[in-house]
């Protein structure tokens, strides 16, 4: 069953067409990565799916249901997004509780307190953090709140825009573990945008390499690990990401 399907997606900002002919088919429960350097258009694809870049042509559908341009409330319950910057993705004047209650209020779902507590537990946030403001939380805690917020509406698909780029290595490890666990427990489908191929190796099943707004190659993560990707650009990216240090004993 296809969870997320993109057909010939062209996204434009004003006059400039930023992505060209993006076609992807992501199965349910799959973890898929979009990799590329800055300017490759990977974040733009994500934004178009999320409805934040309304000028696109082509087709976007989730579980067979096509998506309209702009704000789509039905789609919101299928698909949510975790943003990159833990410092900028939480409203500075709202407590964790208020931020997590918001999606429930918008979609008129009741039983707030119980749901908030459940999701906070699922992402490993201690209950005592519930009424803190973002500036009273660490980077890792903020990112957990961002993940919790995305899970409040129980979506089946999570869009992740560089979710750990702004975090320390040790905090990144915690968040990556968390994401892996959540995906397993809730059978989520991930579409992850990142420039870090090691994260892809850990978290994903398949990947698409983007360059200049186009998909250059779609490969399995096994190919990435064994260095058997086909396109020379992809191979070069993989080579540059390989560690100099041997694996610790």
């Amino acid at each position: 069953m296809s969870a997320l399907m993109l057909q010939n997606l062209d996204v434009a900002y004003g006059e400039t067409v930023v992505t060209h002919g993006i076609t992807l088919d992501i199965a349910e429960g799959e973890s898929f990565a979009l990799v590329g350097e800055s300017g490759s258009g990977k974040s733009t694809v994500l934004k178009a799916i999320a409805g934040l870049a309304p000028e696109w042509t082509g087709a976007i559908s989730a579980f067979g249901v096509p998506r309209g341009h702009g704000v789509d409330r039905g789609f919101a319950r299928q698909c949510q997004m975790v943003f990159q910057d833990p410092y900028g993705s939480l409203h500075p004047r709202k407590t964790v509780d208020a931020t997590l209650a918001e999606p429930l209020r918008i979609q008129r779902i009741g039983d707030e307190a119980a749901r908030i507590e459940a999701v906070m537990a699922a992402v490993g946030l201690a209950p005592r953090l519930r009424f803190r403001f973002p500036h009273q939380l660490s980077g890792g805690q903020r990112q957990r709140v961002a993940i919790a917020r995305a899970l409040m509406l129980a979506p089946k698909i999570l869009l992740l825009d560089e979710p750990t780029s702004a975090l320390d290595v040790s905090v990144q490890a915690e968040i990556l573990n968390l994401l892996k666990r959540l995906r397993r427990e809730q059978n989520l489908t991930f579409l992850l945008v990142t420039h870090n191929l090691a994260v892809v190796s850990f978290l994903c099943d398949r990947l698409a390499v983007m360059r200049g707004g186009r998909i250059v190659e779609v490969a399995s993560v096994a190919q990435l690990k064994h260095g058997t990707m086909v396109d020379p650009y992809s191979r070069e990216l993989a080579r540059l990401s390989a560690h100099a240090l041997p694996a610790p004993a």
């Binding site: 704000v71 409203h91 931020t99 009424f131």
Partner: protein, 306 residues
């Protein structure tokens, strides 16, 4: 670290690291902001001046005699034990008039703030959020009002409707809101692109919810600062209107009007014009100091660092 094992005080509750309810979190934040404000001596001075203004306005009948009672034999008396600030050209006690004048000043300042600030805020936020033709229309409207000088507008108003303090207030409010609209719009343009706004739009929020619940709360800090700092200017404008006879009408003890009438005696009986002048200066300074202090405390960027 104190080893205090007694039951927790109110201060502990407010400063708690992990509040247990939304109210506690909000009150805690307000408390921390007040603490920061109190650390600034000028801000404290400003706050005390404003507080004094409020208190004097409230208890005016208790501390002063009738401000409009004339006593012609005693006109133009210098400050003395009987009349702390002397008497004016109709024998009225200037001290009493200054005290009662606080009520008029307060009325002007509060009404202008209530009328102009919310209007400017909403227009600016809507304009900034929607962009496009809504932005152009609203900003065009704003520009029209922005280009009208306060005094000329007030003149026009009172020429049309007749003199009086209410018309002066409306005139000042009408020429003040565009400034607030511009500030609100500029900030909205920045906030609109923030990821937390994107996140809530992604959840299906309507424009109303985004503007009311997410954008406006972030605009209030700079608006409070702006309004407080503007109060000085508003007082001076009202005084200016009073000076040219367009504000409060005699015998109301409006400070600007008092200065105007004291003009003719300024050389020999300086107290008639100077006393209300001092009052205006002190109150304006108070608002300026408080506004500056608030800016240091309420600026979201410095709040992030705390």
């Amino acid at each position: 670290m104190t080893l205090d094992l007694s039951r927790p005080t109110l201060r502990d509750w407010l400063l708690a690291d992990s509040p247990a309810s939304r109210t506690q979190a909000r009150l805690g934040r307000a408390y921390r902001a007040s603490l920061a404000l109190l650390r600034n001596p000028l801000a404290v001075l400003g706050a005390l001046i404003i507080l004094a203004l409020l208190v004097l306005a409230l208890i005016a009948p208790l501390i002063a005699t009738d401000p409009i009672a004339q006593d012609l034999p005693n006109r133009l008396q210098p400050p003395s034990g009987a009349h702390w600030m002397g008497t004016d050209e109709l024998g009225r006690d200037i001290y009493a008039r200054v005290i009662y004048g606080t009520r008029i000043t307060l009325e002007i300042v509060v009404l202008v703030a209530i009328l102009a600030a919310p209007l400017g805020l909403v227009i600016g936020a809507v304009s900034g959020y929607f962009g496009g033709w809504a932005d152009r229309v609203l900003m065009g409207l704003t520009d029209i009002f922005l280009s009208m000088p306060k005094l000329i507008l007030a003149l026009a108003f009172t020429a049309a409707l007749g003199p009086g303090i209410e018309h002066a207030i409306i005139a000042i409010a009408i020429s003040s809101w565009p400034g607030y609209a511009r500030i609100a719009r500029a900030e909205t343009l920045t906030i609109r692109r923030a990821e937390y706004v994107a996140a809530v739009e992604l959840q299906g929020a309507s424009a109303l919810r985004v503007i009311w619940g997410h954008i406006l709360p972030l605009l209030t800090s700079s608006l409070i600062i702006r309004v407080t700092l503007d109060m000085a200017g508003i007082i001076l404008t009202a005084a200016g209107l009073g000076f040219i006879g367009l504000g409060a009408q005699p015998p109301a003890p409006e400070w600007g009007a008092m200065i105007s009438r004291g003009r003719s005696f300024i050389l020999d009986q300086w107290w008639v014009a100077t006393m209300p002048g001092f009052a205006i200066v002190i109150v304006s300074l108070g608002f300026c100091f408080l506004g500056d202090g608030l800016r240091d405390v309420l600026d979201p960027r410095s709040a992030e660092r705390r």
